[in-house]
Amino acid sequence: MEDKLLIWRLRRGSRDALRRTYDKYHGDLLKIAVVLTGGMNPAEDVVQDVFTRFAQSCGHLKLSGNLRNYLITSTLNGVRNLRRYRSRHETQSLPEADGLTSAERRPEQWAVMSEQLERLAAAMARLPDEQREVITLRIEADMTLRSIAQLQKTSIGTVQGRYRYGIEKLRSLLNGEIQE
């Protein structure tokens, strides 16, 4: 209910509604972006960009329901864009690129990762993009497999498979069964 009211106010240019949306969802989005990109710096860029675009377009936002899912989808799209950009502009393989970005520190970061989150993000970076997306969207964003299938333009069966194999590999990585 609160989100519907937020959307209504956002359409009318409310600063308070933008502030509330920002405060309410920045943490979730940052965490999702961290596990999808493998580092805080790219995650910060993606989430800041999501909110910037959101601020530009919220005046004509056509959204009847779930603001959180909208922002999560925008974050996912931002990460995919970043991935495409990297694949076009960098010769490095993605995990290495992620690792480098992750290790860099800006003078002032939006957030600091806990040790567990750093480990999780590093392990997630070793998974294929599709598995990483499915696991993040299922566990962190609490999305249904059907919704994820729609986002990935694939069948539920494929998504289930990606989830199952991704979880197994992630477990092995985190438990040290797969060596770096």
Binding site: G13, R15, L18, R19, Y22, H26, G27, L30, K31, V34, V35, M40, Q48, F51, T52, R53, A55, Q56, S57, C58, G59, H60, K62, Y70, T73, S74, N77, R80, N81, R84, E108, Q109, W110, A111, V112, M113, S114, Q116, L117, R119, L120, A121, I135, I139, E140, Y163, I167, E168, L170, R171, L174
Partner: protein, 443 residues
């Protein structure tokens, strides 16, 4: 499933802590963008279609001036918002192409009028856009229909280096030159259905996927926009055709090259006009030379209304317009909220649109630009209303000698007010100071 539960537990335990200073700094930036967006994109304001209005010298010039000047409003609308990812890739891809060509078929249905025409468009990233009408057909040749006539062979050139637009009507042996002084040309590219401008515009709106299809043997993916606020369809901005009511835009993109294959725009306005544009036969990476974009205007061709200079509708030009009005009429216009300003000026100066034909090219140009200048305060005021800047105008009670009285005021983003006083000097004042000043205004 134990693994899944373990992993969920790991996700829950993985946290991050926010740096509050950075958090606030980022929000300040986001807020600035929101405010800028509201400031530069007044709801529903789109540049109006000067091209079709000014085609006919018989159009009331008072109206035409207002329409012309309205072209300047909303020019900086290029926010790359929206959720489209593939569309953003399409835009990137188009930007890599230096020269391309395509055909546009247009049909306008309005009341008893049906106009159909086809054009060839040539685009150079460096040199501009050239459009040539290659076929046309009309069901009706009433006076109104003349506004929408496109004669075969008519050409128009959008020339970024000269910041101008030139139309050449070979059948009538006339040409028109628009010069944009401090106004960006980007918006006008939409008038040519330039896919670069159209995709950029589409990114401002929510779009849906139409899935895959095949056009002329090419596998394509479709995108659709139905938001009535979409401004890419260039016809619907003419004020007498009304605002868009129903919009259906479909873009089909080659799945291998990411370049457009077909663009369909179908717009129905609140006045019942319907425009359908189809862009097709795209040829990417064609060879273009600067000579392709040099208008050929024979010496015996004449401009019906002279060169038209477009300027932004800002404080500076509003002041110039008010001064011009005062110079001609001896006072400020009673109202700047609508066209009465132009009508009032025409009445007092004995301006007769019918005498236009008898004027020299230079005089016609001067007259036209005078009308544009006179309309500037009204259009500036309109933009303030639409951006909810709390404007107020007191021309009925404040005159040129009232150096300390508020003639026009509006709110700035920081909460302060900008005030143009009776003697046309401008100051920024606090809300408290404004209240004090307005108390002193004659009732």
């Amino acid at each position: 499933m134990k693994s899944a539960e373990d992993m969920k537990q790991r996700f829950r335990q993985s946290t991050l802590s926010v740096n509050q200073d950075r958090h606030e700094a980022i929000f300040a930036e986001i807020l600035r963008v929101q405010e800028q967006s509201q400031e530069t994109k007044p709801a529903g304001v789109r540049p109006m279609n000067w091209r079709r209005i000014m085609r006919s010298p018989s159009t009331k010039l008072g109206v035409a001036a207002a329409v012309l000047i309205a072209c300047g409003i909303g020019l900086s609308l290029w926010q790359t918002t929206g959720s489209g990812i593939a569309l953003a890739d399409v835009l990137t891809r188009i930007e890599q192409v230096t020269g391309y060509a395509y055909q546009v078929s247009s049909t306008l249905t309005w009341q008893r009028i049906t106009s159909k025409w086809t054009s060839t468009v040539l685009v150079s990233k460096e040199d501009g856009i050239k459009m040539t009408v290659t076929a046309s057909d009309y069901s009706n040749t009433t006076q109104k229909a003349l506004l929408y006539r496109h004669a075969v062979g008519d050409e128009s050139f959008l020339l970024p280096r000269a910041n101008s637009l030139i139309e050449v009507h070979h059948g009538e042996k006339t040409y028109m030159r628009h010069i944009y002084d401090g106004v960006k040309l980007d918006y006008y590219k939409e008038q040519y259905n330039d896919p670069h401008a159209i995709v950029k515009e589409m990114l401002n709106y929510k779009h849906t996927s139409l899935g895959h299809s095949v056009i002329d043997g090419v596998t394509v993916e479709g995108f659709q926009i139905t938001d009535a606020a979409y401004g890419g369809a260039f016809f619907v901005q003419a004020d007498h055709l009304g605002d868009p009511d129903k919009v259906d835009v479909k873009l089909w993109v080659d799945v291998n090259t990411f370049l457009p294959v077909r663009l369909e725009e179908d717009v129905v306005t609140k006045e019942g006009a319907r425009l359908r544009d189809v862009s097709y036969d795209f040829r990417w990476n064609v060879i273009v030379t600067p000579d392709d974009f040099k208008p050929n205007i024979p010496e015996d061709y004449r401009p019906p209304v002279g060169d038209i200079i477009h300027r932004p509708f800002d404080e500076e030009n509003a002041i110039k317009g008010l001064k011009l009005f005062d110079d001609a009429v001896g006072r400020y216009p009673a109202s700047i909220e609508d066209r009465t300003l132009v009508e009032e000026w025409m009445k007092h100066t004995g301006y007769d649109p019918n005498s236009y034909k008898e004027l020299s090219d230079e005089e016609r140009s001067m007259r036209t630009n005078e009308l544009i200048s006179i309309s500037a305060p009204a259009l500036f005021y309109m933009s303030l209303v639409q951006s909810k800047a709390d404007p107020a105008y007191c021309g009925q009670t404040v005159g040129p000698k009232d150096a300390d009285k508020v003639l026009l005021r509006w709110k700035l983003n920081d909460g302060q007010y900008r005030v143009i006083f009776g003697d046309l000097h401008a100051e920024t004042v606090s809300p408290e100071k404004l209240a004090e000043l307005e108390k002193a205004l004659p009732k």
